[in-house]
C-alpha cells in the first residue's frame, strides 16, 4: 500500500461535458446569490461583538446551566434585556449586553453580571470578558471590509497580469458570487459575523482563487496546444484533466477543516463550518461558474489571440 496509489476520484480519460450544464450552473448560482443578498438585508447577519460593539461574557456554571435562573438573577441586578444563550457545552453560557458609555460603566455592568451569576448559580466562573466600544467596532468593521475589498482587487490585478483580462474578470465575478453565498450561509446559520469570520472568508477566497487559477492555467496551456479545438470543448477538456487535482485538494483542505468544526471549540467551529461550506462552493464554482464565464467572454477573442503568436508570448511571462 505504500507504493502505488490505492484510490482515485475519477478514472483517466474521463470526459464529462461540463459546459453543457453552464446555463443551469450559472442560473442556480445566480438564484442562490440573489437569495443570499436578500438574506443579508433581512434578517441580516448576526454581528459579533467585534463589529457590533458591546459586552460579551463567557461563563462556566457548576453543573448544567439553568438559563431561566440566570436571566432572573441578572434581571435582579437591574440589567436590562441581557442576551443569555448556551455556548457549546451544557455548562457554558454566553451573556451579551449593550455597549456602555464609559469604562467605569462597563466595569459596573461586568460586576453586576458577576453578582447576578453568583446569586443565580453559585460557583459560576467567568471564563472570558470582551468589551468593545462603538468607535472601535466601527473601525474593526471598516478594516475587515477593507481587507476583503483590497484582497479582491489584488487578486483581480494579479490574474490580469498573469492571464488575459477575460480570466481575471471571470475569476473575480465568480469570487463575488462565492462571497455572497458565504454571507448567505452566515445569515442562515446565525454564526456570529466577526473578525474571525472575515479571516474565514478571506481564506475561502484564497482557496477558491487557487482552484480557478489551476483550471485557467490548464485552459491557457491547452489554448496553445490545440489551436483548432473549439473553446467549449477545450474548456471541458481542461476541467476534466485537472479534475483529480481539484477534487484531491478540496478533499485535503476539507479533511483539515473537519476536525476544527467538530472539536475546535465554539470559537473555531463557526470558522471551520464556513471553510467547509466555502470549499464546496469554491470547488463547484470553478467548474460551473468561472469556466462558463470564460467561455462567454472568450468565445471569439481568446481563440484569435491564441492564434496570434505575438499575443500568446505576451501572456506568458
Amino acid at each position: 500500500m505504500f507504493m502505488r496509489p490505492m484510490l482515485r476520484f475519477v478514472p483517466d480519460g474521463t470526459r464529462i461535458r461540463f459546459m453543457r450544464g453552464r446555463f443551469l450552473g450559472i442560473a442556480v448560482s445566480a438564484v442562490l446569490s440573489t437569495l443570499s443578498v436578500v438574506l443579508f438585508f433581512y434578517p441580516g447577519l448576526n454581528l459579533g461583538i467585534d463589529f457590533a460593539g458591546g459586552i460579551v461574557m463567557e461563563v462556566r456554571t457548576e453543573g448544567p446551566a439553568d438559563l431561566a435562573k440566570i436571566r432572573a438573577g441578572l434581571a435582579q441586578q437591574g440589567l436590562r434585556e441581557p442576551g443569555v444563550q448556551r455556548f457549546g457545552a451544557p455548562d457554558d453560557v454566553l451573556v451579551r449586553l449593550e455597549a456602555q458609555k464609559s469604562a467605569a460603566a462597563t466595569q459596573a455592568v461586568v460586576n453586576k453580571v458577576r453578582a447576578g451569576l453568583d446569586a443565580a448559580q453559585p460557583g459560576s466562573k467567568v471564563l472570558r470578558t470582551d468589551a468593545v466600544g462603538p468607535s472601535v467596532s466601527a473601525e474593526l468593521y471598516r478594516n475587515g471590509m477593507l481587507a476583503l475589498g483590497i484582497s479582491l482587487l489584488m487578486i483581480l490585478v494579479y490574474i490580469w497580469f498573469r492571464f488575459e483580462w477575460q480570466f481575471a474578470v471571470g475569476a473575480v465575478v465568480t469570487l463575488l458570487l462565492d462571497i455572497t453565498k458565504t454571507i448567505g450561509f452566515l445569515a442562515v446559520t446565525r454564526f456570529e459575523f466577526d473578525l474571525v469570520m472575515v479571516a474565514a472568508i478571506l481564506t475561502v477566497l484564497g482557496y477558491s482563487t487557487n482552484d480557478k487559477v489551476v483550471v485557467y492555467d490548464r485552459v491557457r496551456e491547452n489554448l496553445r496546444k490545440y489551436k483548432a479545438m473549439p473553446l467549449r470543448e477545450l474548456i471541458d477538456l481542461s476541467i476534466n484533466e485537472t479534475l483529480n487535482r481539484t477534487l484531491g485538494t478540496s478533499a485535503t483542505v476539507f479533511l483539515a477543516s473537519l476536525p476544527l468544526a467538530l472539536f475546535g471549540g465554539a470559537t473555531l467551529s463557526g470558522f471551520a463550518w464556513v471553510m467547509l461550506f466555502g470549499i464546496v462552493v469554491g470547488t463547484s464554482s470553478s467548474i460551473f461558474i468561472a469556466a462558463p464565464i470564460l467561455l462567454f467572454l472568450g468565445e471569439h477573442r481568446l481563440r484569435r489571440e491564441a492564434q496570434a503568436p505575438a499575443k500568446t508570448a505576451k501572456a506568458t511571462p
Binding site: A103, A199, V213, T252, L260
Partner: protein
C-alpha cells in the same frame, strides 16, 4: 529540474535540520522559552490574560495647551499695557481670539502675542508653533498643525511611559505596552484574569498639586472671584472649597510616596518626599502661610486641606483623608509613577481566564492531530509512495513553520492554530499538482525520468500562481486585522512560504534520490 548539486542537497537538508532545531524550544515550552532561544509566544486567548486598548484624550491635551496659552497671552498683554481687551478660547478651531478694546492698541497687542511664539524643530525645518493673524474680529492665535501633532505625539509617548511605570508597580509579569496609531495604547497583561484594578489605576490622571485655600472667598457664591476656583472635597460629597488657582508645588516634584499608618490615630496615610526644588518651594510657601490652610488637590478634587502649623522645611509630608489600606497604596503608586498628560479611556477590553485558554489549547491540539492524520492518510491512499514523500515533506513543513514563527517571535493564537491546520491541508496541493502532472506525462508515453522532469517543470508555474494570490489575501488580513486574527494571517503567510520550500525543494529532492537509488522501470503513480 532533476539534478541536485551536492551543495544544493546539503543546503536543503541543512535548512530542514536547522528548522527542527529551531522549532524544538517552542515545542518544549512556548511563551517562556529556554535560555537564549527565541520561541513562539502564546497569545492571550491561549494563555489567559487581559488586553486593553486605550485612547489618549487628545481633546484634553489640546485644551490644556490652549489654557496655558491663554494664561501666557494674558500676562503678555498685561506687560504690554494693553487694556482693556477681550480674550476668548475657541476650542473647535484650536485658537484664541484676542481683541483689544482700543483699536489703536492692535499693533502693541500683536507684538506682545508674537513674543509667545517659539519654534518647533531646528534648522530649515523649523517652524513657529503659533499662527498669529490679525483679522476684523481680532487677533487669532492658533496652534499650528505641526505643533499640535508634536504635542499629541509627546502626550502618547509620555502616557506609555507612565502606564508602564504604574503597571510595573502592581507586579504584573511581562506586560506588553505598545502604541497603536495616532492616539492609542495597547496594554497586554498575561495572566491577569480580571483587569479591574489595573483599569482603576490607569483611569486616573493623578495630577497632584498643592494650592493655597482662599479663606476670604465664599464657596457657595455663584461665580468664584478671579484667580480662585471652587473644587469639590473628596471626603465631604457635595461640599466645595475655594482654592487659589496658582499652583504652589506640583506633584512632578515628588521623589517618593508610600502608604503608611499614622502612629497616633492608626489611620492610613500617604507619606511623600519632595525633590530639592519641591522642598525649597514648599518651605517658602509654608513659611509665608503659617496658620493658613492649604489644599492638596488630586485631579481637581481636594483630598484634604490641613492648616499649616509650622514651616515645613524637611521636604517631607503626609496626606491624610479617609484612606483605606488599598486606596492609600493605590494613591502612593500613582504618585510615584507620575501623572498622565491626559485622561485615558478604555475603548476595547478582552480578558480570558486560564481555564478557557487551556481548553482552547486542548481543542486546537486535538483538531491539529486529527486533521494531520486525516490529510496524511488521504495522501498515502491516493498517491502511494509519492504521497508518503509528500507527507514527510509535510512534517518538515510543520517544523519549518514553527521555526520561522519562533524566529519572528510571533504570537500563536487560537485562529493561528487553525491557520497551521489549514496550511497543512493546502500544502499538499503543491504535491498533488506535481503528482497529477507526472502521471499525465507518464500516460503521454514519457519515460519515468522524462515524466518527472516535465511534471515538476509544468506544475511549478501553477504552484506559484495559486499560492501568490492566497499570499496577497492574507497579507491584507495582517495589515487590516487585529488581535488573534493577525495571528491567523501570520501563520498562513509563513505557511505559504515554507510550503513552497518543502513541496518543491524537499519533496523533489527526496523523489529524485529515490529514483536514483531504485531506477524503477515504471513510476508508482
Amino acid at each position: 529540474m532533476l539534478y541536485f548539486s551536492r551543495l544544493k542537497t546539503i543546503l536543503v537538508l541543512g535548512i530542514c535540520v536547522l528548522g527542527v532545531l529551531l522549532a524544538i524550544p517552542s515545542l518544549l515550552s512556548p511563551s517562556t522559552g529556554i535560555g537564549p532561544f527565541r520561541t513562539i509566544r502564546l497569545g492571550l486567548d491561549l494563555r489567559g490574560g487581559s488586553y486593553l486598548l486605550m485612547e489618549v484624550d487628545m481633546g484634553a491635551v489640546i485644551k490644556e495647551r490652549l489654557d496655558g496659552l491663554a494664561d501666557g497671552a494674558r500676562r503678555a498683554l498685561e506687560r504690554a499695557h494693553v487694556r482693556p481687551y477681550t480674550l476668548a478660547i475657541q476650542a473647535p478651531q484650536d485658537r484664541l481670539l484676542v481683541k483689544p478694546g482700543d483699536p489703536g492698541q492692535q499693533e502693541a497687542a500683536l507684538a506682545a502675542l508674537r513674543d509667545l511664539q517659539t519654534t518647533e524643530g531646528q534648522g530649515i525645518g523649523a517652524r513657529p508653533d503659533l499662527d498669529i493673524a490679525a483679522g476684523p474680529d481680532g487677533i487669532a492665535v492658533a496652534l499650528s498643525q505641526a505643533a499640535l501633532l508634536e504635542r499629541a505625539n509627546q502626550a502618547v509617548q509620555q502616557s506609555i511611559e507612565i502606564v508602564r511605570r504604574r503597571i510595573d508597580e502592581t507586579g504584573v509579569a511581562d506586560p506588553i505596552i505598545t502604541r497603536q496609531g495616532q492616539d492609542r495604547i495597547v496594554v497586554q497583561l498575561p495572566g491577569v484574569e480580571d483587569p479591574n484594578r489595573i483599569k482603576q489605576l490607569l483611569g486616573k490622571t493623578a495630577r497632584m498639586t498643592f494650592q493655597l485655600v482662599d479663606e476670604a472667598a465664599n464657596p457657595t457664591a455663584p461665580v468664584p472671584p478671579p484667580g480662585v476656583e471652587f473644587l469639590p472635597l473628596t471626603d465631604k460629597p457635595g461640599q466645595k472649597i475655594a482654592v487659589r488657582k496658582r499652583v504652589e508645588v506640583d506633584g512632578a516634584n515628588l521623589t517618593d510616596a508610600r502608604a503608611g499608618q499614622n502612629p497616633q490615630t492608626g489611620d492610613w496615610v500617604v507619606n511623600f518626599a519632595f525633590d530639592s526644588l519641591g522642598t525649597r518651594r514648599f518651605a517658602d510657601v509654608s513659611r509665608a502661610n503659617v496658620g493658613h490652610p492649604f489644599a492638596i488637590v488630586l485631579d481637581n478634587k481636594v483630598i484634604s486641606a490641613p492648616v499649616i502649623r509650622e514651616p515645613i522645611t524637611g521636604g517631607r509630608g503626609q496626606i491624610s483623608g479617609n484612606f483605606t489600606a488599598a486606596s492609600a497604596t493605590d494613591l502612593a503608586v500613582l504618585l510615584r509613577a507620575g501623572a498622565l498628560p491626559a485622561p485615558l479611556t478604555v475603548v476595547e477590553e478582552r480578558s480570558v481566564g486560564p481555564e478557557l485558554g487551556a481548553d482552547s489549547i486542548r481543542a486546537g491540539a486535538i483538531s491539529l492531530g486529527v486533521g494531520f492524520v486525516l490529510v496524511i492518510g488521504f495522501m498515502g491512499v491516493f498517491y502511494g509512495l509519492f504521497g508518503w514523500i509528500a507527507n514527510l515533506a509535510l512534517v518538515f513543513n510543520l517544523f519549518l513553520m514553527l521555526a520561522v514563527l519562533s524566529l519572528l517571535q510571533a504570537t500563536l493564537t487560537l485562529p493561528g492554530m487553525a491557520g497551521i491546520l489549514l496550511t497543512l491541508g493546502m500544502a499538499v496541493d503543491a504535491n498533488i499538482l506535481i503528482n497529477e502532472r507526472i502521471r499525465e506525462e507518464v500516460k503521454n508515453g514519457r519515460t519515468p525520468l522524462n515524466a518527472m522532469e516535465a511534471g515538476f517543470r509544468r506544475a511549478y508555474a501553477t504552484i506559484i500562481d495559486s499560492n501568490a494570490t492566497a499570499f496577497l489575501a492574507h497579507v491584507m488580513l495582517f495589515i487590516f486585522g487585529s488581535g488573534p486574527v493577525r495571528g491567523f494571517a501570520v501563520t498562513i503567510t509563513v505557511g505559504i512560504v515554507t510550503t513552497l520550500f518543502t513541496a518543491t525543494m524537499l519533496a523533489r529532492l527526496l523523489m529524485v534520490r529515490w529514483y536514483a537509488a531504485v531506477r524503477p522501470a515504471a513510476l508508482p503513480v
